[in-house]
Amino acid sequence: MHDPKLLLLDPADNVLVAIQTLEAGDTLTVAGERVNVPTRLTLGHKLAARAIRAGERILKYRVPIGSATRDIAAGEHVHLHNMKSDYIQTFTLESGQTFSTKHDHH
């Protein structure tokens, strides 16, 4: 039900991993639906395997790797723009030096 370019690491996961680079304009099958790839994504990036609600845990390898910061549609790119760490904020060159946002996990 998912495109062979996308890998579901564990049946419990709500994200898929691109196992080859996806080009802008490509059409993929996610959960039986056709979705468009709006921008180029190199292999390793994640797409939502189903609709994910804001605040929901993102599951990969059956383990939470952070939380959605807004609603995410099935097939949408899942990354820093719509998810965050539940531990330590992620630093990128674009964001510059970030302050830490601490969340108690346990």
Binding site: L7, Y87, I88
Partner: protein
């Protein structure tokens, strides 16, 4: 299983897979002279290590002692300026007590830069001749120690290279080799699944505490163990990177927790706690991948398995580094630097088990003397900074 009958038998009974000499500077002020002594011998197994600081530090002293007496090292030349805090006499005594030839050059007593370089090269010729006489002996797999680290990770690391290393670790642990994984800051989010593998309940608590310590430490610094290239490569959070990094540990029972300089007492899988104890004092736990590699080597690692997705090129002083490339696109760009193409799993050209076997076989071949790509290219990176640790307690190494 005997890996090779040509291991280098040291006077202290330990066995190496390389027969290197290190020149060790004891303060940055002696670095240039040390480097100049090494330069003509750099392709003859003479490596440069050192500590730049002028203030005393127990961790740095212990690291230098364990590195200078590493089984891959046959002899040592110490380079002192003369007025630094590093205790060159106790380091020299520890090396001499291990039965290794050791010489100390003090630049201030030796008439300066030029005279010290000349004398160092003279000493080097003698030491090379002495070290070449070391007896050979069989190295059993239960005497073999392998460390693993990841650097320049991307989202392929946790799918190909890291679980491939995990499979190799499982086979090594079955045969009673010592296997060490590390970077508790990259195990944040893995506490529950990791502690379930501890040999004893007390060790489970210690493993959990080590990750909690790392999370607190990095939170104070305001920056996780996460570089911008990790995000470009598709990793979104430290937890996601952690799950990938964790896969390097394989599935074996975890036998203990080490701190830098502790040698595994017997075969098995060990976690190396690299995050300093106490309040945050000297900055980031490890300023780069080579600081972690140096700590794995200080724990006795003969070989380092280095997983990379973005494409690290580094090697190390003292122990060979095997680079396992996770990303097939990176491998095609940088194959001259990579020993294993683990990304082929994503392209259906090999299974995870096959890549695991390839990593294991290559580790054994390197132990028999085959050079790694980074060795052939002359990589001998080394860095050592200030840290502080409390010694490990008896529950860290349960005898079950």
């Amino acid at each position: 299983m005997i890996i090779t009958d040509q291991a280098y038998l040291r006077a202290d009974g330990r066995k190496g897979i390389r027969n290197h000499i290190v020149v060790a500077y004891l303060v940055e002020c002696a670095h240039h002279v040390a480097r100049e002594i090494v330069y003509p011998y750099r392709e003859r197994g003479v490596h440069l290590i050192g500590f730049g600081g002028c203030y005393p530090n127990d961790y740095a002293a212990r690291m230098m002692r364990t590195l200078c007496t590493h089984p891959n090292i046959g002899g040592v030349i110490l380079l002192s300026l003369g007025c630094e805090s590093f205790n060159r006499n106790s380091l020299r005594e520890a090396i001499a007590a291990s039965g290794r030839p050791v010489e100390t050059l003090v630049i201030q007593q030796n008439g300066g830069t030029r005279k010290t370089i000349e004398q160092g090269r003279k000493l080097m010729d003698d030491m090379l001749a002495k070290v070449a006489q070391v007896p050979r002996a069989p190295l059993h797999i239960n005497e073999f120690i392998v460390g693993t680290v990841c650097g320049g990770s991307d989202a392929t690391s946790g799918i190909t290279a890291n679980p491939g290393i995990g499979r190799a670790f499982d086979r090594l642990v079955e045969q009673k080799a010592g296997c060490i994984f590390e970077e508790t800051g990259e195990l944040i989010g893995c506490e529950d699944i990791m502690t379930a593998r501890a040999a004893t309940p007390a060790l489970a608590g210690i493993l959990r505490d080590s990750v909690t310590k790392a999370a607190k430490y990095y939170a104070v610094l305001g920056h996780g163990s996460f570089a911008p290239g990790n995000a470009e490569g598709g990793l979104s959070t430290i937890e996601e990177k952690s799950m990938g990094a964790y896969a390097k540990s394989g599935a074996s029972r975890i036998s203990g927790l080490l701190k830098p300089g502790d040698i595994p007492p017997r075969g098995g899988l060990y976690l190396l706690d690299v995050v300093p104890d106490g309040e945050v004092r000297f900055g980031f736990p490890n300023i780069n991948d080579n600081a972690e590699i140096a700590e794995l080597i200080a724990c006795g690692s003969h070989v380092i398995l280095f997983s990379t997705g973005r494409g690290s090129v580094v090697g190390s002083a003292i122990s060979p580094v095997i680079k396992v490339c996770a990303n097939p696109e990176t491998y095609r760009r940088m194959s001259e630097d990579m020993d294993v193409d683990a990304g082929k799993i994503l392209e259906g050209r090999a299974s995870l088990d096959e890549v695991g076997r390839e990593i294991l076989e290559l580790s054994l071949a390197v132990a028999r003397g085959a050079p790694t790509k980074s060795e052939e290219l002359g990589h001998q990176e080394f860095v050592l900074t200030y840290k502080s640790f409390e010694p490990i307690g008896p529950s860290c190494l349960p005898s079950v």
